[in-house]
């Protein structure tokens, strides 16, 4: 077949020169990291549950991609799920399913939980952080 880039290789700084070219893959993993799969599933599920329409979702995602392009960020597909996540956070806020301060607070609570949990123990939020 043709010359191929592994999906992950494009995210490495030494491969930034490849950005001008069309990234190629040959059916590699669809998700580079677990969080991408989870962000994907959240959008699909929230839409399926009727919290927003798929059209609203597509518009939010297109808005994030356009914003990145307007800022001159290289758009080679490798940051696709970063934009996906940003679109999800924005739509969740717009639809009042959650709000930015709650998301930030919860994110920090998770980081704290990781830092204070010894190896081999499951990560859990303290009771106060989940209230």
């Amino acid at each position: 077949m043709t010359t191929l880039n592994e999906p992950n290789s494009i995210t490495q700084p030494e491969n930034l020169s490849a950005l001008a070219n069309l990234p190629r893959d040959e059916g590699g993993p669809v998700f580079a990291e677990p969080w991408q799969a989870q962000a994907f599933a959240l959008a699909v599920r929230l839409s399926a549950q009727g919290h927003f329409t798929w059209k609203e979702w597509a518009a939010a995602l297109a808005g994030e991609l356009k914003g990145a392009a307007d800022r001159g960020e290289p758009d080679d597909g490798s940051r696709y799920y970063h934009h996906w996540l940003a679109a999800l956070e924005r739509l969740v806020t717009e639809k009042r399913l959650s709000d930015p301060s709650a998301m930030l607070e919860r994110k920090e609570a998770w980081a704290v939980a990781y830092r204070r949990t010894p190896h081999g123990k499951p990560i859990e939020l303290s009771a106060s952080s989940t209230d």
């Binding site: 590699g28 059209k55 998301m103 190896h119 499951p122």
Partner: protein, 237 residues
């Protein structure tokens, strides 16, 4: 037994500092995680997803089992093989082909494939004189139920822009040289309407049954960046 994505992540996090799955190793913030007595803090986007998910699950807006099922389906079950079966059926069954070209989503649902990004499907047929190419210039709309999730290049800006500005040049980069007398039609997907290319049945495929034909149909041939060719000897389809 399938390990769910969540189990996998938990196991990998728990194992941080010991034998880490190579796939996740590069995501670590620093190289010497084993020098610390706490667990490795995930990357910023990973924490944001975790935050979002835990908030929404607590409110009862989504449930974890449904999320895991979606991840599992798209990662392991739904892929271009669904589309290949649709194409092979159309090649052997003229009545099915007619239904497929008339009402894509309904004909595709006959084979059991449906879901998000597949509600409205238009199937466009390649002929000796017409070649079809699919793109989504705005984002990455893609017919998930038949092709799975899009490849990296489909989501990239170069593909999205060049498919419109210089589609013949783009196809040459994919190794597809279209003669000048072949009309090239570029279809721009939207949130409402997705496209699937019905490629030409290639020479040399006479006498094959539907299942054998499906093995010849590549993902790229259904996006329009390739034609269907006889698989090379010894190369698994």
């Amino acid at each position: 037994m399938t390990t769910t994505r969540r189990d996998f992540l938990t196991a990998a996090v728990t194992a941080a500092g010991a034998a880490v799955t190579p796939d996740l190793a590069h995501a670590h913030e620093h190289d010497h995680a084993h020098d610390h007595d706490h667990q490795v803090v995930p990357s910023d986007p990973a924490l944001r997803v975790k935050a979002l998910e835990s908030l929404l699950v607590e409110k009862g807006l989504v449930d974890r089992a449904a999320l895991d099922a979606i991840v599992d389906a798209y990662e392991y079950k739904i892929g271009p093989r669904n589309g290949a079966r649709v194409v092979a059926r159309a090649w052997v069954d003229p009545a099915y082909k007619q239904r497929l070209l008339t009402n894509g989503a309904a004909a595709i649902a006959e084979l059991g494939y449906s879901g998000p990004e597949g509600e409205q499907m238009m199937v466009v047929q390649n002929t000796p004189k017409v070649h079809n190419l699919v793109v989504c210039t705005l984002c990455s709309c893609y017919p998930w139920p038949v092709l799975g999730l899009p490849p990296v290049w489909y989501k990239s800006a170069p593909y999205r822009s060049r498919a419109v500005i210089d589609p013949r040049g783009l196809l040459r980069e994919f190794g597809l040289h279209l003669p000048d007398d072949v009309e090239l039609r570029v279809w721009d997907s939207t949130a409402d309407l997705r496209y699937l290319v019905l490629p030409e049945r290639p020479a040399g495929s006479e006498g094959l049954n539907e299942e054998e034909l499906a093995a010849w149909v590549s993902r790229d041939s259904m996006i329009g960046t390739a034609k269907v060719v006889k698989p090379a000897e010894g190369v698994p389809a």
